[in-house]
């Protein structure tokens, strides 16, 4: 098999003006050294068919690379994802053996000062360079390395770019992965993390209350001030997602506002290529299930499952819902053994993955469970795509 490996790049030290004009930095899309191979005898796979980069989009308001979802996802593929070694310590990128996670904030066309001048928040599309985002994601998908800008969240400035080589799996995470139609078409699978307002508020309180500048009022004001832009630009993306993870307050405890026990819904679109929704008992039927009883004793408030078909923004979907918490390992195994179409490679794989990261937030509830399951689904999707591509070397890339 031909291998394309030489990645060269212009010096990363050239000064990049950080500022007001949105087109002031030019980034180079580099070509690989494969062109000469195309003239080889037929039957040999040319370099362009090696572009098996699968692109996954994840829309989340929680910022980049820090999300637990990313860490669980990269763990399913094996290896821990880490920031690029020896590079900018404030890089938002995470790299593991198979996966590279890019933070879409790196495509901000305006830095913090620029946004203040123009009066736009980071949520506003006007603060982002979608043309560059499209060009670079497309290049990576085609197997070409790119010099990607870095948005430094600490300084609020745009730092000199870093070299990103095309990985097997590219995850683009941020506020607008599905906003631009061209970028949307490049995604092999997309996920939207939909946190309800009450839960968002509870989580932000946990995160920020101890900080000196913050108070209940400031946290509330911050969420409310961002809401109009969020509703206008970010929220509508959920109609395009192949799967939506909705996090809501629990219904098991009346008037609970601590956001500790959660009700999580995994909304899965039907008819998506390479993606078969998880189900409980029987596909397409509706079922309500409480696993706790004679075989399994759970502590308060227990666990409740629901599965059924539904419509979501005019699409047919299947919804799997979990309300409550896991307290013990055997609860988790019991639940796993009753779910079907999990895309696990062995019995107990979901439980094993959850235990591996028992210290991650959400490990005892639906958020951890569904994030892990979605990770397995993405692995399955990736393997199916690779299998298909290696079976038909001739007409591979949709370039």
């Amino acid at each position: 098999m031909a291998v394309c490996t030489a990645y060269t790049s212009p010096s990363l030290h050239s000064p990049y003006p950080i500022s007001n004009s949105s087109k002031s930095h030019h980034h180079f899309i580099l070509s690989t050294s494969c062109r000469s191979n195309r003239r080889r005898a037929r039957g040999e796979i040319s370099c362009s068919s090696e572009t098996n980069t699968v692109v996954i989009g994840l829309a989340a308001d929680s910022g980049c690379g820090k999300s637990t979802f990313m860490r669980r996802l990269t763990s399913v593929f094996g290896g821990a994802a880490e920031p690029p070694k020896g590079g900018n310590p404030d890089s938002n990128t995470l790299i593991s053996d198979t996966t590279t996670v890019i933070c879409l904030d790196d495509y901000h066309s305006l830095d913090r000062t620029g946004r203040k001048e123009k009066g736009v928040t980071a949520l506003d599309p006007r603060a982002n360079d979608f043309d560059l985002m499209y060009q670079q994601v497309k290049a990576l998908k085609e197997g070409k390395a790119v010099d990607k800008p870095i948005y430094n969240h600490v300084s609020g400035l745009l730092d000199p770019p870093e070299l990103i080589k095309p990985p097997k799996i590219l995850v683009i995470e941020g506020l607008h992965p599905m906003y631009d139609a061209r970028v949307r078409d490049l995604l092999d699978f997309s996920i939207y993390l939909d946190i309800s307002n009450e839960v968002k508020f509870a989580w932000k309180i946990q995160r920020d209350m101890a900080e000196r500048g913050h108070s209940l009022e400031s946290i509330k004001a911050s969420i409310e001030a961002r809401k109009p832009d969020f509703d206008a630009y970010i929220d509508p993306q959920k109609q395009y997602a192949d799967c939506v993870i909705e996090v809501l307050p629990t219904q098991l405890i009346p008037d609970d506002n601590e956001g500790k026990v959660l009700r999580v819904k995994l909304v899965m679109k039907e008819g998506v290529n390479y993606f078969s929704p998880v189900y409980l008992f029987d596909e397409g039927s509706t079922i309500s299930w409480i696993p706790c009883g004679r075989k399994l004793t759970c502590s308060y408030p227990g666990i409740k499952f629901f599965y059924g078909p539904d419509t979501y923004f005019d699409h047919e979907v299947s919804v799997l819902e979990m309300d409550g918490q896991f307290d013990r390992l055997d609860e988790l195994i019991y639940v796993e053994s009753h779910l079907s179409s999990l895309s696990t490679k062995f019995y107990g794989e979901v439980t094993q993955q959850m235990l591996k990261h028992a210290d991650f937030p959400g490990s005892n509830n639906g958020t951890g469970l569904f994030q892990t399951i979605v990770g397995l689904k993405i692995r399955d999707l990736f393997e199916q795509i690779i299998k298909e591509k290696s079976a038909t070397p001739a007409e591979v890339s949709k370039v």
Partner: protein, 79 residues
């Protein structure tokens, strides 16, 4: 060090936001939304930094010193 700087920045930005958003008109202005967005950005960055520091068992100076052994912070004085 950075933690402290970010922490102070949050205090400052929250105060700024409260000021900009003063009154009816202030609350509806673009400046108000941008100010609170900045607060969110910095809070997020601080939370991330804290998490990274907590997660890493490695001394943050180590990788830096591997690359720059002559830097002031990395000099070893052995007798």
């Amino acid at each position: 060090m950075r933690e402290l700087n970010l922490s102070k920045m949050i205090e400052k930005k929250v105060a700024e936001a409260m000021e900009v958003c003063n009154g009816e008109e202030g609350m509806r202005s673009d400046g108000c939304r941008v100010a609170w967005d900045e607060v969110e950005e910095v809070s997020s960055a601080l939370a991330d930094l804290r998490r990274r520091l907590a997660d890493s068992a490695v001394d943050p100076l180590e990788p830096f010193c591997l690359q720059n052994p002559e830097a002031e912070e990395c000099r070893i004085y052995e007798y």
